[in-house]
């Protein structure tokens, strides 16, 4: 995760300062994040190893964990730009994600009749890079359209507009009318309730093949990195350890690594955005828009920029998230995903980019993936026991002091209980730490340190530094 640290040149003062988290002091943000992640992985490994989880399953779990950590951290970062910095209440995140991945699909799916799934509507058959760009732009454009009328009204109206918009997007995707049609000789469509099969090149393969271009020139072999290095050396090398279908394991890991790199890019981008005069105006708008306007800032323009950039990033996240799943269906994009991301941001602390990454990681590891992992682990330990199928069957034995059925029932319903757990965490957090883990600290919006220039009267160690 060292890639998430900004260059030294742009290091902020709060990077250099010690940070403390649950009573443990770290030299800087990067170390804190790294330690947090390592601890999380160690916990997963130990939990798996202690009870003898099969190696392959364990490795897969870690790859997936990384996938979720990166995705939720990115999402929280994008939302932090809108809510943490600018105070824009976007509860339609999932609509922008859906827009991103669907537009990418339309642009990059093979032309009708040529793909692997002939029955499905086709696409424009353009390269995936064009598709991704198109998806990101489309999400940004949708954000622009939502923002234009809503930002002129009071803040809560934006919330209403965004959540309505995300549902409009979902219903548009479900619509029969839009499911198939011919546009300019292409058979295109949104697929309706059946969704779309994402039969474009796998994003990971597309990326490696793109990176391979300089090597291809040297070796004269098309897709050298992909066929020779990735499949030839890495995947075959791994097959020594896990003979059965090693590619899927390697794919999971490689894709998770790519997502971590993208997360690093997000972090640097949003940190620079935040720690700059631009970010300062955004914060000022969050605090008091009238005052910011009276100081000569075109607040509407700043708000629209911040919102559009955030939405475009959400579109990209949508592509990275759902683009590898083989297919998408409209009902994946329910508001639930939006609220997951809000929880991640609230845990980390709105207003802090480092906090957003931490919130995303903690949410992914302990609230999203954690309970499922725990369910897996427990069921493996107990040798796949059969749980009672109804609540009454689970509760009745408690009267005779037998809590095993209840316990099994609980484990069996982990996915449902997950939401309860998230709710409890939110309530506790609101009560004990409303600012989130890092929301309380001073992250100065400036591209340079704000110390008094030397030569003036010395800066006494005053100021109080009351961090609350």
């Amino acid at each position: 995760m060292t890639d998430t640290e900004p260059d030294d040149e742009y290091a902020q003062r709060d990077d250099e300062e010690e940070v403390s988290f649950f009573g443990i002091t770290f030299p800087n943000d990067g170390t804190m994040l790294l330690v947090l992640l390592l601890a999380t992985y160690a916990l997963y490994l130990i939990a798996g190893a202690v009870i003898g989880f099969p190696v392959r399953g364990l490795v897969n779990q870690l790859g997936q964990l990384t996938f979720w950590i990166a995705l939720f951290a990115m999402s929280a970062l994008a939302l932090n730009l809108q809510w943490g910095y600018t105070g824009l209440f976007n509860i339609g995140i999932v609509g922008f994600m859906a827009t991103g991945v669907y537009v990418t699909a339309i642009i990059s799916k093979p032309v009708y009749g040529t793909g692997t799934s002939a029955a499905q509507v086709g696409g424009l058959g353009l390269p995936l890079s064009v598709g991704i760009l198109g998806g990101v732009l489309a999400a940004g454009l949708l954000g622009f359209l939502a923002a234009l009328p809503a930002l002129r009204l009071r803040a809560d109206y934006l919330a209403i507009v965004t959540i309505a918009l995300s549902e409009i997007v979902r219903f548009a995707l479900l619509s029969n009318t839009l499911s198939e049609g011919t546009v300019g000789g292409y058979t295109l469509g949104l697929g309706g309730g059946n969704g779309l099969i994402l039969d474009f090149t796998d994003p990971l393969e597309a990326l490696i093949r793109a990176l391979s271009l300089p090597f291809d020139l040297v070796t004269g072999q098309e897709g050298f990195l992909w066929t020779e290095i990735y499949i030839g050396i890495i995947v075959n090398g791994i097959s020594v350890f896990t003979p059965g279908n090693p590619k899927s394991v390697v794919d999971t890991f490689a894709y998770a690594a790519v997502l971590l790199l993208v997360l690093g890019g997000f972090y640097v981008l949003l940190r620079r955005t935040g720690n700059s005069p631009f970010g300062r105006v955004l914060k000022a708008i969050r605090e008091d828009e009238d005052v910011t306007n009276a100081l000569g800032k075109n607040t509407n323009q700043f708000k629209i920029k911040s919102f559009v950039v955030g939405c475009a990033l959400m579109g990209l996240i949508g592509i990275l998230w759902f683009g590898t799943q083989g297919s998408v269906t409209p009902n994946t994009f329910r508001p639930r995903i939006t609220f997951y991301i809000w929880i991640a941001l609230i845990i980390g602390g709105a207003g802090s980019n480092t906090g957003s990454v931490m919130g995303g990681a903690i949410f992914a590891a302990f609230l999203f993936q954690g309970p499922r992992y725990a369910k897996n682990v427990i069921e493996t330990v107990l040798g796949e026991p059969s749980a009672p199928s109804s609540f009454s069957q689970a509760v009745a034995p408690i009267l005779s002091a037998d809590i095993v059925p209840f316990f099994l029932y609980t484990v069996d319903n982990m996915r449902q209980l997950q939401l309860v757990l998230m709710g409890v965490v939110l309530i506790v957090l609101m009560h004990r730490r409303p600012d989130g883990l890092l929301g309380h600290r001073k992250e100065i919006a400036s591209s340079v340190p704000l110390d008094r220039p030397t030569g003036n009267k010395s800066l006494a160690s005053d100021g109080g530094e009351t961090d609350e």
Binding site: E9, Y10, L269, R272, T273, S276, P277, F278, G279, R280, V281, K283, A284, R286, E287, D288, D290, V291, T292, N293, A294, L295, G296, K297, N298, T299, F302, K305, V309, G351, K442, I444, A445, S446, S447, V448, L450, D451, R452, P453, N456, A460, D462, G463, G464, E465, T466
Partner: protein, 284 residues
């Protein structure tokens, strides 16, 4: 008391008994008159808050705008600064028509306001508050903030230095790294004035700057304002406290029921029967 002069610009509500002032207005020198308001009218539903108000503010002076509650001072203020769009009338600043511009456009032309209740950006430090203000910051362009940090940083260092100097001037430099929300009421007033100054204004509109300020701080604020006026800044101050305005402003404009009742030097205004009537309800 003389009656309305009814000059070239048809200001029926305008009452002036100062020959010199009238003469200045006649020559209409933009260099001397940064702010000119003519025939301003603003209604809210059936209520006419400002009715045909007109006045001028001379450069490098402190002009007071007084009047009883509901006289239309704040509405006039808001019409000048772009918060409200007047129904009719013209606001000219430095020779250009600024009627109906957005508040940020007005501010960018050098006419900057403060608020009646100090409105600090509370979850930002005092220094951050200050640094929001300067105009035309390179880093306010998103792409520059992300890609051209060297450019941005260079200007940021200059701005930081200026911010510290201004905080020094107002004696609140010891609070620089404090959250603005932790400041006392008086410190907030100082911060607000200091912040407005960093926008490089020509003229400052202060909305009741002394409301809820203790006498010691009032003294300090006044001292600062006088210093700044000596440096060439122009002030238009809306204030309740008549004595304060009378003692400190060179010209006083009195509003009553949306009209300009009279304007003149403090002495002239003090002895104006209409003013006394307006303030004391007709019983002199």
């Amino acid at each position: 008391m003389s009656e309305a002069t009814g000059e070239s610009r048809s200001e029926p509500a305008h009452v002036g008994d100062d020959e010199e002032l009238t003469a200045t207005r006649g020559t209409a020198d933009v260099n001397e008159i940064p702010l000119r308001v003519r025939n301003l009218r603003k209604t809210f539903g059936g209520i006419t808050a400002v009715d045909n108000a007109g006045f001028e503010v001379e450069r490098g002076t402190m002009t007071g705008l007084i009047g009883p509650n509901g006289a239309g001072k704040s509405t006039t203020f808001n019409c000048i600064t772009g918060v409200h769009t007047p129904d009719s009338g013209v606001v000219e600043f430095n020779g250009t028509d600024i009627t109906g511009l957005e508040p940020y456009e007005v501010a960018n032309r050098g006419l900057v306001r403060t608020f009646q209740i100090a409105r600090e950006l509370s979850e930002m430090t005092v220094l951050e508050n200050m640094l929001v203000a300067p105009k035309n910051q390179r880093g306010e362009k998103l792409w520059r903030s992300v890609l051209a940090r060297e450019d941005v940083n260079q200007q940021e260092y200059e701005l930081v230095e200026r911010a510290w100097e201004t905080l020094d001037f107002f004696d609140i430099d010891h609070l620089a790294e404090e959250y603005a929300g932790n400041l006392s009421g008086g410190q907030r007033k100082l911060l607000e004035l200091a912040r407005a100054l960093l926008t490089d204004p020509d003229m400052l509109l202060l909305d009741e700057p002394f409301a809820g300020v203790n006498p010691t701080l009032e003294e300090r604020l006044l001292e600062h304002i006088h210093d700044l006026r000596d440096q060439g800044y122009t002030f238009l101050i809306v204030e309740h406290d008549m004595d304060l305005i009378m003692q400190n402003c060179s010209k006083v404009i009195v509003m009553h029921q949306g009209n300009i009742l009279t304007e003149g030097t403090p002495d002239q205004v003090r002895n104006n029967e209409q003013v006394i009537e307006a303030y004391l309800g007709g019983e002199v």
